[in-house]
Symmetry: C2
């Protein structure tokens, strides 16, 4: 074993768990072979899968399972359970072989791998109670693990260890380095990264092939403790896990040189063998010494349960109130509501991407610093940490500019596969931010969040509405998005008004309405001004505040279509995927279509200008709306 810069010290705050070794080297070797045989078997039965990627890590996982993991498979919700994340999710045959060895799944279920309805999917998902987060998009396991280790370190959990199994290929993902930086900086000694350096990626050799030190010296530069070993030397593997568990004030990376397809000569260390069953499974199993039936008694968490900060709920949330007619930015209202929510709900944690002074999550940070996590400018890490924390019972709110949430799109997508409940808040939406220009404008965010499976998309227009929705998000499942504005907008709702998710508000209405304007956020106010202008001309217009973009208020929109004939959506967003599409969707399922459906949106590429000029240039300010409606009425309604 090549151990460098070891930093083992007598544990102080850290309490490494210890127990007698269950299996000796010989027994571990046998278990490793069993995991290989079972990986080969299960992929062969399925006719697809990644047995060779499983075989390289089998010895590593044998030692972990038998001698180091603390996990109660009967109580996956035990707060003291270690966390095991297969970042190389394609090695699911190995993970499921471990579950088989641990007795968590039986042979019958094991063989349902990759079949319709099975919990044993091609890549692990939380349909299995022992899987906290879905993997399969590489480079996500470590960032999620960082979130879990941070929660363990700062939020009063029963001590647990976080183990992440990573491939070598995925070390090329920037998200991994965001996580490495964060973990080193935060001294996350409860986190161990196991890198299965099997030299071969999907299409051929990795960049660093067998150069373990290429990984090692990078990780050490980020203040990690590293252990470079032969991943098939079970003494070394076992010792490395011990060293990782006893390393103090540093996360540890076990950098293990392995061979893809280890143990079967016809595939071992060969290119072109990725992601397919072995050509001859029967002889491969024979070469591996045949089937075994070792059952591992996995150690349970030794610690008594400590309740993390997710239990205490202190009654009513004292949301700030705003007076109708005041001018308040919804981002301000977000920050203040969040601080109030944090007081009433101990499970709330807040993350930000180094812009808390802009998103206003700083209001929470000042009141509840112990539950605020600065993620710096690393949006992928921010969302991943939120996903990790929600898996442990916390309710995360993660915020940055709406535009920069696109940086974390793949993590949001995977959050939905993880069945994660996270709240995401994007500020500085749309052209209304003004002079900073298009790079800072969220103009694709509604499209991105609407297309996330099971998501909720909210876009309030005033401070009281924002406060209520921030509180409502606390109870919502799935990926929930709130879009806030940079500039101040008038308060139009009283503090007692309610805003059900899936609802809308009709702000102007008469029986004579001939058009309905539908806006959200800043455009609600432009629609109101336009309606007032037109009302003065004897042209009554309905105005709907579509604060809930997904789910959308089908009933109100249908009524507006029936009663006014013509619907005009107005959004500070690109024409695709936002409010216009959300409204059109209502009439795409057999509902009688409105006489006309018109959408106003940001169709041009903005530059710099004042907020008012931007809205005008995009044709979504009150004057443009009014002019458009006059024309519409000329053309079709008279």
């Amino acid at each position: 074993m090549n151990s460098r810069r070891a930093n083992s010290q007598p544990p102080h705050s850290k309490r490494p768990k210890s127990r007698p070794h269950h299996l000796n080297t010989e027994q571990l070797t046998e278990l490793g072979q069993q995991l290989r045989v079972d990986s080969v078997r299960v992929a062969d039965a399925a006719g697809s899968g990644h047995p060779t990627s499983s075989m390289s890590a089998a010895d590593l996982m044998a030692a972990l399972l038998a001698n180091h993991l603390h996990y109660d498979f009967d109580r996956p919700d035990h707060p003291g359970n270690d966390r095991l994340i297969f970042s190389k999710g394609h090695a699911s045959p190995l993970l499921y072989s471990m579950y088989l060895a641990a007795g968590a799944v039986d042979e019958k279920e094991f063989l349902t791998y990759r079949t319709l309805g099975s919990r044993l999917e091609g890549h692990p998902t939380p349909r299995l109670p022992w899987v906290d987060v879905a993997t399969g998009s590489l480079g996500q396991g470590l960032p999620v693990g960082v979130g879990m280790a941070l929660a363990g370190q700062r939020l009063g959990h029963t001590p647990y260890h976080v183990w992440v199994l990573s491939g070598d290929s995925e070390m090329a993902e920037g998200s991994v380095w965001e996580a490495i930086e964060h973990a080193g900086d935060q001294h996350l000694d409860s986190l161990t990264l196991v890198i299965d350096v099997n030299r071969l990626g999907q299409r051929g050799p990795t960049r660093h092939q067998r150069d373990l030190d290429a990984y090692g010296r990078r990780l050490r530069a980020f203040d990690w403790h590293t252990i470079e070993i032969d991943g098939h030397d079970l003494d070394a593997v076992d010792a490395a896990f011990n060293e990782a568990r006893s390393t103090f004030r540093k996360p540890t990376a076990i950098i293990a040189g392995t061979r893809k397809g280890r143990g079967v000569a016809s595939v071992e260390d060969r290119e072109g063998m990725h992601g397919k069953p072995l050509p001859d499974a029967e002889s491969a199993i024979e070469e591996l010494g045949g089937r075994r039936s070792i059952r591992v008694s996995v150690a349970k968490p030794a610690e008594p349960e400590t309740h993390p900060r997710t239990a205490g709920r202190r009654g009513t949330i004292a949301l700030p109130h705003y007076d109708v007619g005041d001018s308040v930015a919804t981002r301000d209202a977000y920050g203040r509501a969040l601080a109030a929510l944090g007081t009433a709900r101990e499970d709330v944690v807040v993350l930000d991407g180094e812009v808390s002074d802009s998103t206003r999550s700083e209001f929470f940070a000042k009141e509840h610093p112990e539950r605020f996590f600065e993620c710096y400018i690393a949006e992928q890490q921010m969302i991943a940490a939120a996903v990790g924390m929600q898996a442990l019972g916390h309710v995360p709110y993660a915020s940055t500019f709406a535009a920069f949430l696109t940086r974390a799109h793949d993590f949001l997508r995977m959050a939905s596969v993880s069945r994660a409940s996270i709240n995401v808040v994007g500020s500085h939406a749309g052209v209304s931010i003004g002079q900073d220009g298009p790079s800072q404008m969220g103009l694709e965010d509604l499209a991105m969040f609407r297309a996330i499976h099971g998501s909720t998309v909210l876009h309030p227009c005033d401070a009281n509405q924002t406060a209520r929705l921030v509180a409502a998000m606390h109870e919502l499942p799935g990926v929930c998005y709130l879009r806030t504005l940079r500039g101040a907008t008038p308060v139009v709702y009283g503090p007692d008004e309610r805003f059900p998710v899936g609802g809308s508000k009709v702000l102007r209405r008469s029986d004579a309405d001939r058009v309905t304007l539908i806006g959200a956020g800043v455009t609600v106010h432009e629609c109101l001004k336009a309606a007032d202008l037109l009302a003065g001309e004897g042209f009554p217009v309905r105005v709907v505040d579509l604060y809930s973009v997904k789910p959308v208020d089908e009933r109100t929109l249908q009524a507006a279509a029936d009663e006014t004939g013509c619907l005009v959506t107005v959004e500070d967003h690109h024409p695709q995927g936002g409010i216009g599409d959300a409204v059109a969707e209502v009439f795409s399922d057999g509902r009688p279509a409105p006489k006309r459906l018109v959408r106003l949106a940001v169709g041009n590429m903005p530059g710099s200008a004042t907020p008012a000029e931007q809205l005008r240039a995009a044709g979504i300010d009150a004057d443009s709306i009014a002019a458009g409606l006059r024309l519409l009425v000329e053309q079709t309604l008279r």
Copy 2:
């Protein structure tokens, strides 16, 4: 100067440009002050902007502009021009002050900063001819610079140097580390990263504050040459640029300790001064020694022009042909067409994210290895490199799984702000991939690409169509997306059929059609099967292949609505933002709506199953479509 691991050697393939120094230390100091004064002035005039972030880097940029940059401002298209990327795009006052000093913009235009219609936007964009790519989303400049340096190294350009000015905060972005890894691995000695370590991010201190070595040791671990200096010591700065230009086989990072707001005591090194004009600009300018009018004669590229591989166009593209009735995966057709295109068009470059055996870009790689760029599993770097290469006249095709393109969403968004023309190809679209499960399925990609400003979105269903579209993409401006399938689909078009962008194909048609089925990709074949089933029942159904999702064929869809009354979209994508929304959009601008508009899409969360089972589970296979249509006809049409 603390220079470590210097690797200066007599240049061989690298030809560092040399010239007599234009300005001595004293003159550089004056120029630095001028750039500060002008940055303060212009932000003050605009009433917004980031003067303090400009002031920290002013000395660095003074030395670069006067003594090291080779650039012909009259000929921004000169292939030998150095490339200067302000990754910290918010320091635009500094960049524009440099342009003023170089005589590229005059005082009058200078003072239009951040006003409506001005080219001098809050963050730089290519509306200015000297700006290759837009910045403002942090962490993008270096990855783009890597693409430019790669092109310079491998594609036969006149030698140029790529200079990237980065902030210290943005070093937290994973994309930066993808780029650092790539640049070190590829020995990009024509690339210099200048890190303006001014200690303060937007909301407060950075993670590493003044610890230059924190950056240095990380970069050295990635095989960079590093130079740590006081960024206000102009001798050291000047020497560092010389050292960077003469360093051989390694990229160089100049890690410069600076002070935000340098030179004005009331703001220098103070928190809370980010992104706002100075409180008292007049006295600040006085403190900086008042206005100056130094004009810098920037050295022009010394080298004669060499034409890179963008000129030769060798006539007809010999696209592969496929026989109707054969079964071919569109990803295969993509790879083969790309290889043929590469033979006929020397400007084509191809990038892939370590899955070229799956995307099939390997066919190109085998035939044109010199123009194939392996980006490993680093999708942000892949798209950024494509953006950098297109700025130099190349036509990039970048491919990975459709699902993993979400990783690069922010880079795609910024590509549109950059007015970049890049072709992006996502394979393994939808549930039809089968057993691998949801993490691998592109189900949000159409929504993402449709919402990108100025984008084109194509989704072919057969091999000949794919080939034609791959060739057509070569000529298209903007971000152009092609979505391909994992599984084989029948060839339904002859090799001579044409597929205009913005068109569609009517595959089944009669005057008696009572419904129109609209599909793309795999669902075209399911629609055809459903139509054939129903035709056998005396229920004639029209089928439209909507291969061009954006722009969409309004005329054909309108005609189908007029003639058949009912449109049913069928897509292997989430219900939001894809084909259903694209079709609905046609009827959102005053066109008479169809009697009914129904959308079939993937509304559930898939698991593992065979492709056929997946299509069935999502309700988008032929039987489900036919069943739905029978019901529809029962309910409303009879």
